[in-house]
C-alpha cells in the first residue's frame, strides 16, 4: 500500500516537474500533413485561501493539530497550454505544488495536477488529482474540480480560480489567485 502510494506520488511529481520543459509532443504528423500547435508557458506564483467546511474527518484532524478551517496557501503554478492552429479553445495542463497553514506554524503540502480547457476570453475549467500531505490518513488523494477566469493585463495573465477538492474525508474549497507573464508563442 505504502509502495503504491510512493509510486503514485513520484509519478505525479515527475509530471509536474517535467511539464515546463516538455516540448516534443506539440507537433504531430498525420497523413503527411503537418498539424501545428502553438505552445505557451504561463507559469507563475499562486496564493489563496482554503476553507474546510463541516464536521468531517479532515476537520477533526486539523483541529487535533491546532489548525483552523481557514488556511492560507502559497505555491507555484506550472502550466502548459496547447493552442490549436487557428486559435479557439486551448488545452491546458497545470501542475500546482502548494504549501498551506504557515500562519498556524506548520506546513501542509499539497500537489495538484489539473487538465482542462481555456476559452478565448479566459474562462477556464478542468479537473484532476490532488495529493494532500497531513490529512487524516497521513496523506490522502482528492479529486479537484476547478473553474476560473484569466484576465490579461498588458501581457500579464492574472488568473482567479475557484477550486473544490472532494474526497470521503471532507471537502475543501479554495480561491486561488496569481499572475504569470505570457512568454512568446512557439
Amino acid at each position: 500500500m505504502k509502495t503504491k502510494f510512493t509510486f503514485t506520488l513520484l509519478a505525479l511529481l515527475a509530471v509536474v516537474l517535467v511539464l515546463p520543459s516538455t516540448k516534443t509532443f506539440a507537433q504531430t504528423k498525420e497523413y503527411g500533413l503537418e498539424t501545428s500547435f502553438a505552445e505557451r508557458d504561463l507559469g507563475g506564483p499562486r496564493f489563496g485561501i482554503t476553507y474546510v467546511p463541516g464536521n468531517t474527518a479532515l476537520v477533526d484532524k486539523l483541529k487535533e493539530k491546532g489548525i483552523g478551517t481557514t488556511i492560507s496557501q502559497f505555491g507555484w503554478h506550472f502550466e502548459y497550454q496547447i493552442i490549436p492552429e487557428g486559435g479557439g479553445p486551448s488545452f491546458i495542463i497545470q501542475g500546482v505544488p502548494m504549501v498551506g497553514g504557515v500562519e498556524y506554524g506548520t506546513l501542509i503540502p499539497a500537489v495538484t495536477l489539473a487538465m482542462g480547457i481555456r476559452l478565448p476570453d479566459g474562462l477556464e475549467f478542468g479537473m484532476g488529482p490532488n495529493i494532500l500531505f497531513g490529512g487524516p490518513k497521513g496523506a490522502s488523494t482528492s479529486l479537484v474540480v476547478a473553474i476560473g477566469q484569466s484576465f490579461n493585463y498588458g501581457g500579464v495573465s492574472i488568473p482567479l480560480n475557484f477550486v473544490l477538492a472532494t474526497n470521503p474525508d471532507g471537502n475543501r474549497f479554495s480561491v486561488v489567485f496569481g499572475y504569470a507573464i505570457a512568454k512568446g508563442i512557439k
Binding site: 487557428g86 476559452l119 474549497f173
Partner: protein, 159 residues
C-alpha cells in the same frame, strides 16, 4: 451539499458573464511566423489592422498578415453549456442510482459536479470542431486584396 451548490453557482455565473463578454476574437498568423491569439478587432485602415491583445492596442501592417481567422466565442460557449447541462443531468442520475443501490456512499452532487465539468469540456471541443470558422489564407495577396477579404469576413461575422 449547500457548498457544492455554491460552487455550481460560481460555475454558472462565470459562464453567463463570459457569454455577455466580447464575442469575436481574431487569430492572426504573421509573415515571420508570429501568432496573435484572442485579439479583439479595433480598426482596419488602408495599410494596417489594429487589434487589442490583452490591454494593449497593436497595429500590424496588412502586408505582414499571412492568415486570419475570426472566432465566435458564443458558439463555443453554447457547446460548453449544452455539454455541462447534459453532464449535470447524467451525473445527478448516476449519483442517485449509485446511492440508492448502495454502491456509492458519496453525495450524488459529487458525481453531478464531475460530469458537469467533463460534459463542459466535451461540449466545448465538439462545438469548436463542428462549427470551425475557416482559416483564411492571405499569403501572396496584395494589401488591397487582404483589406477587402478581411472587411468582408468581419462583416459576414457580424451578421
Amino acid at each position: 451539499m449547500k457548498k457544492r451548490q455554491w460552487f455550481m453557482g460560481i460555475l454558472v455565473g462565470l459562464v453567463v458573464s463570459s457569454m455577455s463578454a466580447q464575442n469575436q476574437y481574431l487569430w492572426l498568423k504573421l509573415a515571420d511566423d508570429r501568432v496573435v491569439i484572442n485579439a479583439a478587432f479595433q480598426e482596419l485602415t488602408e495599410e494596417t489592422i489594429v487589434v487589442k491583445s490583452g490591454m494593449k492596442k497593436v497595429e500590424f501592417s496588412l502586408s505582414e498578415v499571412d492568415r486570419i481567422r475570426v472566432i465566435r466565442q458564443s458558439e463555443i460557449l453554447e457547446g460548453a453549456l449544452y455539454g455541462s447541462a447534459i453532464g449535470f443531468g447524467a451525473g445527478t442520475a448516476i449519483g442517485f442510482i449509485a446511492q440508492s443501490n448502495g454502491t456509492d456512499k458519496q453525495n450524488p452532487m459529487s458525481s453531478a459536479l464531475i460530469f458537469t465539468v467533463v460534459g463542459g469540456v466535451v461540449g466545448t471541443v465538439k462545438s469548436a470542431f463542428e462549427k470551425p470558422d475557416p482559416i483564411i489564407d492571405l499569403h501572396g495577396k496584395n494589401v488591397a486584396q487582404k483589406r477587402r477579404i478581411i472587411e468582408s469576413l468581419l462583416l459576414q461575422k457580424q451578421e
